[in-house]
Amino acid sequence: MPAKQKKRQEKDGRHHHPRGVRPFWSGTISFGLVSVPVHLFPGRRSGGVAMRMLDEDGTPLARRYHCPEHEVDVHPEHIVRGYELEDGSYVVIRDEELEAISPKKSREIDLRRFVDIAQVSPTLFDRPYFLTPAGDSTKAYRLLADVMHQTQKAGIATFVMRGKEYLVAILSHGGVLSAQTLRFPDEIRDADDVGLPEAPQIDREQVSRFEKAIRKHSVNELPRDELKDASTEQLTALVEKKRKKGQDIVETEDYEPDASEPSSDVDLMEAIRRDLQGGNGAPQRSDADGSDLEDRSKEELYALAKQRNVPGRSKMNRDDLITALRKG
């Protein structure tokens, strides 16, 4: 098939099938001899407004890989990965070779160690993900999530995803498992590596001035409104203003979407929610009214309410907490 025709077909295909959200990784969590099949989804929204590069006439630009030797744009099939040696030559590494050296159990997260999450320094946290149940039954998933939540422990493991090994902390928040990739210790500098000077004799009075200032500005909850993305909000407002005025608007023909464009945040949330509610085609028991809440102590209920951000929880008694948690 001529390249041009092929390209058009791909383009049309994209039109009929809006981009679905697929898990980043699918595999199993091994917990003792129990296997918990899971999907792994990104744990954050893209947030920002996607800006596109355009030509002067407004045509969205496309990215090409150009071979300066042959003076042609190279199709992805003919692109290989090369590691540059000191003499400027390359060692070519093919996908199959990387696949072959990934650990045998590359589809497995082996949970053999649990730690107190407070022991993990926030400087290690890299990217957040959610884990959703993938098999026919959610029972093993719920059991693991429940026990990890009750014990307030994080599982630590390594696994291979998309050609890279990750160190990961598996956490449970009120029955939902999340995964937080961690930086390996050799990827993090300490004060010595940075070359910071040693602490001098510290003036007690100066410390107490800071202590006073810290007390004065202490609050109990994370002030989320302070963490807004003001630049993106301003950008959105500017775009909206121009749209209303019909100012600086260009119409384009159909174009190739950028492969790196993230799927929509709404689609991502829906995919995670559907999976959590057993959207894998698995028949689910419908006792979703949270009947096990009755079995929990007030402390446990309060902890759950805190994790789910239930407003007014600190003034609630046990029954109020159960009602509020059932309402979601």
């Binding site: 060692v91 029955g175 004060a191 202490s218 109990n220």
Partner: protein, 253 residues
Amino acid sequence: MAARAIWKAVVHVGDLSVPVKLYSAVEDRSIHFHLLHDQDMVRLKQRMVNPNTDETVPHEQIRKGVEIERNRFVVLSDEDLESLTPPASRDIEISHFIEREAVEPPWFDRPYFLGPDGDAPEYFALAKALAGSERIGLAHWVMRSKQYHGALQPEGDYLTLVTLRHAGEVIEPGELEPPAGRDLDKKERDLATRLVAGLTEDFNPEDYQDEYRERVRQLIDTKRRGGTIEVEEYEEVPQERSLAEMLEASLSR
């Protein structure tokens, strides 16, 4: 070798101020590859083209736009983008102090070290006061034309500043409903709790190395000497026994 400071600033806590230098706390260890043309092993260059003409569009001719509906863009001029840039500043404002646990892991993004700028006893006083408070400071600053939020934290005698993701970007677990199902079996829960307890240890990051990265390095070494590697398949372990049986077997291992 000591790292180079990437920025100088002043941390403000109430009316107290601390001159600091900012250093990256991350060391890039990844193995970098280049994209090559398989015909001649020549390194490929990326270029941005107009897909209608396949002509390269020079950098100064590229405009930026936001898609408002399919195939309709609002074009933003340089002045528009300029007007959105926050004013330059060297101030890191600490607005509040919160308990460390109030900031969940998904908020944390990129870590930096702060060091004293010059002879700064107040730097070490702040680090000490912060460590004693068991809190972290919520920081706001503009660096290289970008607004950042972050967590100011004690690290030994020193201070780190970890950038935080924006609200709206972070999906908080409270937004999600856990999977529902029949009540969990008490025996299974007890067994699983015992298994977690049995596997609980202190966290020691030094126990972990990126073994895969090392294997990629070895693969490169093997291939540069003209060697080859074997390809193996991985197998999946089927699960047949009941949850309780598997948990009991796990505990008795």
